[in-house]
Assembly symmetry: C2
Homo-oligomer: 535 residues x 2
């Protein structure tokens, strides 16, 4: 490191500012926001009270023996208490383990044990499950239940969150430590093997927060969170920091609404009651909101970042017709998660429509490459990334970690290309691409074209091994009415072959009708299950 | 540092992302902006060419023997070449020394020698000065002249910037290094002693850039730089990184206009020709623009951050009447510089008017306190700050560095209070506050009130020692017509005493008429010179 010409070493009093989550909270408080945090229990409080509740939670946990380096797990829906945990637990120097409550009981036991958590905060909705699993969680020796509204029944908890906070007279004096200390961990569930644990440091989450805000500053009002917005997460807070937006919303001092468990009619009612204007979620959530809205519209235009799966054009357009302005974001558990955000700054409405569904431009400090299997730049290939907020690996699984970081770039396992304007377009999952006749065929592209056929409610394409062609595509369809034939589907797809949109190798060999497509715990089509059906 | 429960050490391939200026440039290029950089020589080029020019400059400097840790000095007006130096020099691991060309030749020699610079890039306007000083700059052994338009005459340079770039076939492959490596140094000129050198690292400048963008994301369009804006600096680029905005503007990919030396009519012409919408500068610059505009208006509304000195209400209002929307920012050489920015989000126009001139709210990650001499919190007192981008000290002057960081906070030497809404209001320079009759009287507050009196063009108040009262205020006035009397001024100020705005101790003991107020090299009133007049 260069020290410049004749500079004395910094004196002992110079404050060497570490990038810590407590500094995000400090900046949030300096804004002196007069907005409210609307809690799941119907109560609401201001930012000064949020600060005090975080201070009290820090004191409660310290009284319970929590020390820097300990892991504390949380099982909850999207709540104001989860927001408090997002700050207080890391600010103690402890590690927040976010439990995916949609996993099977077996997997929940595995992830809790794997995290090393010694204290569990759980919502009373999970009290029966926790009672069942308790005997298999020997590392956890303190249990705190959180509940909304009226008193909770008997649980296996030692104490209740609100009672502990109410009884706490002190505010914990949070202190500084190394910015590389771990702040959060959680598990990512691939379609194979055990859930794998990823981890993020204070430095990483602070930089992730600033980079998202910086990206917002480069976008028009219709795609940014502003201080005039009302924020409501529609991504589970156990899922990749709810995409980092609770940290952003808090730093900005916006009004926040925590909806608890997602019940469509209640989400719509909350939108109206609190005038929610900014959310984020997977396509399935957006679909659910549209269903619950029916012919109605939200009380105010509603901006929504859509990620997790591709934002299909018909869904984008249907949402727009309901005054829900959806645009894509891209990231994954390993990336904290935000890597790219769509960027809508065209004056041409048709161009905008198309752009809203692209993964979009890398946010500041994110570097992306599209590479072939030899890590050479390629027009279409695997998307690999660098950013200051990517997980360094998967727990103790050194082989998987080395594979993730092969060649010094994080491998997304997504196939992408970069459009002229610098927008990333995700084409398919690497493992779902069908390699046939020497070409790569995007399964999602075929699915989108099949979906345009009348009465097709859902479609999935997987590749099966083929001695002559390498692989061959097989099509699964869920029909909403008339069942299409393979011949009719070939005729339909051939039109797109003729116009050069897809390869002739993309025509599926078989068509299988299903009543429903199998889905993973996060609502994605479970292609592994489909392949198993063919095996 | 906690390592979390059972996490393997990061593998050798994990990219440990350092916060480097080269990453800002990389992100800028990923935006694929189609905007232009308008140079001082009338030529213009796109962002891809900016990237190539930076790559060529890196190669040229490397060919000339520049190595990491070397210091390279630049003497130039606000130019596209300075922008290139902002990137290329630090990206080589070298240190960019920004030379304040408004200093005396003696001071220029001192600062260049003190910086340890071994190579000088200078604009041809300074060729005669450089020829004069060359013999006294033994450390510098390479001289490169930069000029606009037609060929430059004979200079003492070894080579010419554009010729070197044109002859360079290679683009330098910039590499990673420690984010704490120094990137920039320059000198701050107090009113006493020799200029003192401050320094900033890559990490500091990257965080400064992201924090400014994050602050913009929290502000309404009328006070943020957006991608639709056209940016033109009106703060010298040798002065505290032109407030950091060239890095922000480049990362955002906005159109940038570099005006060269500030010539009022040319600045107005450039505004019209390029449709400039965003600038920043000291009040004197704003005043100069209003003078050059006369009754005319800019071609588009023009946003301007005003700092360096207080933004007086009359100046703010006069600018607004010309469609120049000024709002205050606050910072200093030691702080990179941005600490606070006004925040206008009220619906009440009168409240907005008042707020625009407050220093405003700390930008994200900045912590501020107002303290007394014992570092205890105080309603009014010295503003002290912490942020990740503050200089660690002054060159090798350990005593001054220790004083700057007394008690673990950087001392601004400004007296401030924090308003209800969290806005910082700067009341005075600590050394200019007049301690009289047991009270602190703000010299700038008296000056503002005096300025409201008819025919007062400029006013300054300084304290002189007084056996009975500690200090007593003395008033200097520059009249634009009728000369006021001390009695008339007492009558005028007494109205403000009666309404409780100022203390009765604030009434000055003497009134001295001047033709002009003495000013420092950056255009501030030189109160030291005024005190000397009284000594």
């Amino acid at each position: 490191m260069n020290q410049g010409h004749r500079f004395a070493a910094p004196g002992p009093d110079v404050y060497r500012y570490p990038l810590l989550i407590r500094h995000l909270l400090q900046s949030a408080m300096d804004n002196r926001s007069t907005n409210e945090i609307v809690g799941t229990d119907g109560r609401r409080h201001g930012y000064a009270e949020l600060d005090r509740r975080i201070g009290r939670l820090g004191a409660v946990l310290t009284d319970l023996g929590v020390r820097p380096g300990d892991t504390i797990a949380v099982m909850d829906w999207d709540s104001h208490r989860y927001l408090e945990a997002y700050f207080a637990i890391p600010m103690l120097g402890a590690v927040l383990q976010m439990v995916n409550v949609r996993l099977s009981p077996e997997q929940i036991v595995f992830t809790l044990q794997d995290s090393g958590a010694t204290l569990l905060l759980f919502h009373s909705d999970f009290a029966p499950l926790v009672a069942d699993l308790k005997g298999r969680l020997p590392l956890i020796d303190r249990w705190i239940v959180m509940h909304d509204g009226a008193g909770v029944g008997a649980t296996s908890a030692d104490a209740e969150y609100e009672a502990l906070l109410a009884a706490e007279a002190e505010l914990h004096p949070f202190e500084d430590f190394d910015e590389n200390a771990l702040a959060t961990t959680f598990h990512t569930t691939g379609t194979t093997g055990l859930p794998k644990r990823v981890a993020f440091s204070h430095r990483q989450l602070v930089l992730h927060t600033l980079a998202i805000m910086s990206a917002f500053s480069m976008r028009p009002e219709r795609q940014r969170l502003t201080t005039a917005d009302v924020y409501m997460p529609l991504t589970p807070m156990f899922h990749v920091h709810a995409w980092g937006l609770p940290y952003v919303a808090t730093l900005m001092g916006v009004k926040q609404v925590y909806p608890g468990r997602y019940i469509p009619d209640r989400l719509i009612a909350l939108q109206r009651q609190e005038d929610v204007t900014f959310s984020h979620g997977v396509p399935t959530i957006l679909q659910m909101l549209l269903g619950a809205l029916g012919d109605a519209r939200p009380s105010r235009p509603w901006k929504m970042i859509v990620g997790g799966s591709a934002l299909a054009q018909p869904l984008h357009d249907a949402a727009a017709a309901h005054d829900i302005h959806a645009f894509a974001g891209y990231g994954m558990s390993e990336t904290a998660p935000v890597v790219t955000l769509a960027r809508l700054d065209s004056d041409d409405p048709d161009e905008e429509r198309g752009r809203a569904r692209l993964a979009g431009q890398p946010i500041p400090l994110v570097q992306v490459r599209v590479v072939d299997t030899e890590m050479q730049d390629s027009a279409e290939g695997e998307l690999v990334v660098r950013a200051p907020w990517l997980t360094a690996g998967y727990g103790t699984d050194e082989a998987a970690s080395a594979d993730l970081w092969r060649g010094g770039w994080l491998h997304t396992q997504d196939v992408a290309r970069i459009c002229d304007r610098g927008d990333v377009e995700i084409r398919d999952r690497l493992k779902d691409v069908i390699k046939t006749g020497g070409e790569w065929v995007s399964s999602t592209q075929i699915e989108e074209l099949v979906m345009q056929y009348p009465d097709v409610a859902a479609a999935a394409v997987v590749g099966v091994p083929d001695a002559r062609w390498g692989e061959r595509p097989i099509l699964f369809v869920v029909a909403s009415g008339h069942h299409p034939t393979l011949a009719a589907m070939h005729a339909h797809l051939s039109l797109h072959v003729d116009r050069g949109a897809i390869s002739r190798y993309a025509l599926p060999d078989r068509l299988i009708m299903l009543d429903d497509l199998p889905r993973t715990s996060v609502g994605k089509i479970d292609k592994k299950a489909l392949r198993n059906m063919l095996a």
